[in-house]
């Protein structure tokens, strides 16, 4: 039985959080209309659809808005049952959710802080991020193709930014987090993830990303001190 209702996605061209939702929708073959939002000049539409946080992504399904990428992902998984993202078993679901939260707090935030800071602050952020990455490496050891098993799942999508954004941040921030010698499982996962037919055609342009994150890291770096 087909799911009714028009699907729209409010996004920003370079947001890794928006890409999570696009990957999920595409994996499930859900047709959607993408609406670009300028987050530096927020529209009334965004303020209507996400009045509390005023951020993208916002998924609009049959006129109802859902915000926060983690929340949207679970909504998508529960609404469109084909190609399930989360496992069936409650314990395995809990494990996936646990690592998603961990990676968001320790790796994403850590890498971003490392990108936008200098000196001792940067070194500290880098060290914390690498330590956190070690735990994810441990999680991947002995797994099949992806965190989700044979196919891409919830945790692959949540961590997907590591495959494509993190190398850009490393370049912009003159730092190394993914050492292939230290993280062989993650390195192999990155290559498989980027080769996936849905993922490889759903990525932002790398050159534009380099320019964007260079500008952002400078802007945020100069305001974070003093």
């Amino acid at each position: 039985m087909a799911v009714e209702g028009e699907v729209k996605l409010l996004g920003f061209w370079v947001s890794p959080f928006v890409f999570r939702v696009e990957w999920a929708l595409k994996i499930k073959g859900v047709k959607y209309k993408y609406i670009e939002e300028d987050i530096f000049n927020k529209s009334t539409l965004l303020q209507e659809l996400n009045p509390v946080l005023k951020k993208v992504p916002v998924l609009v399904h049959d006129g109802k808005a859902i915000a926060e990428s983690f929340v949207i992902l679970e909504y998508v998984d529960e609404t469109w049952k084909q190609n399930p993202l989360l496992p069936q078993d409650p314990y395995h679901r809990a494990v996936a959710r646990f690592w998603a939260k961990f990676a968001e707090e320790k790796i994403l935030e850590g890498a971003w802080n490392a990108l936008c800071s200098q000196g001792e602050e940067k070194q500290k952020a880098l060290q914390q991020t690498i330590e956190a990455m070690e735990k994810i490496e441990g999680e991947l050891e002995g797994k099949q193709q992806f965190f989700g098993g044979e196919n891409i799942g919830y945790l692959d999508i949540i961590l997907g930014w590591i495959s494509y954004y993190l190398p850009v941040w490393e370049e912009v921030g003159s730092m190394q987090i993914i050492d292939p010698v230290k993280f062989p499982a993650i390195t192999a996962w990155i290559n498989r993830f980027l080769k996936h037919p849905v993922i490889k055609d759903t990525l932002p342009p790398r050159e534009k990303m380099l320019v964007y994150f260079h500008q952002r890291s400078k802007a945020l770096g100069s305001t974070s001190h003093g």
Binding site: V71, E74, Y75, Y91, R93, R97
Partner: protein, 220 residues
């Protein structure tokens, strides 16, 4: 097959308390282990090696950490008295507000409690903005979950028993008459038997948070 449920927590942690409420709501028998965080047990470190924090739920030997992850696990494992609705959109709403509490509201109020000077002023302003959103969400409802409590109520539940403690310790009333709907919710929530029968002792909380407050605001 005998079922074994253990909950590692502390006597005062609001994150552990929300799990207690969920277990009680569903009538699940469990062993509570109150930890001393300055001297963590070997078992806790074994069950939560990543964060070394409470709460940790252990179900038939399998550990689950992070309170929101635990609450979803409990709801998916024991189906009676659900804390999440069936409808995916309503579920998304509960999860959004649970996240809002943990990532925005609670940290802003904690900053208002612990910081000084300009940072404190900013934290208070942010807390009030956050509380306004919560007030708006509650309008027209008894609980966040509607007629019955759900995930968001359990997660916001710390407001019902800890805000008065903060207010007593600091002498500053943050949830005042500007938030009539929230105040009414707090009263309704506290009147529920599974809540009021499962609260840490108020006097003990005041002593604890008074000591913490003095730590963050040393007398000059």
């Amino acid at each position: 097959m005998a079922e074994e449920v253990k909950l590692f927590k502390t006597w005062s942690t609001p994150f552990g308390l929300r799990v207690v409420w969920a277990l009680k709501l569903k009538g699940i028998q469990y062993d509570a282990i109150d930890e001393d965080l300055s001297n963590k047990s070997a078992l806790l470190l074994q069950y939560n090696p990543v964060y070394k924090k409470v709460p940790v739920l252990v179900h038939n030997g399998k550990p689950i950490s992070e309170s929101l992850v635990i609450l979803e696990y409990i709801d998916e494992t024991w189906k009676q008295n659900p804390i999440l609705p069936e409808d995916p959109l309503e579920k998304a709403r509960e999860r959004f507000w649970a996240k809002f509490n943990d990532e925005k509201l609670l940290p802003s109020i904690w900053d208002a409690f612990t910081k000084e000077g300009k940072e404190r002023e900013e934290a208070i302003a942010t807390s009030l903005e956050n509380l306004k959103f919560v007030e708006e969400e509650l309008k027209g409802k008894i609980f966040f979950g509607g007629e019955k409590i759900g995930l968001a109520d359990l997660v916001f539940g710390w407001l019902a028993n800890l805000i008065c403690v903060f207010e007593e310790v600091t002498g500053f009333k943050i949830i005042d008459e500007r938030f009539p709907v929230l105040l009414a919710w707090m009263q309704e929530f506290l009147e529920l038997p599974i809540i009021k029968d499962n609260l840490p002792p108020h006097d003990k909380l005041v002593i604890k948070y008074q000591a913490l407050y003095e730590k963050y605001h040393p007398a000059k």
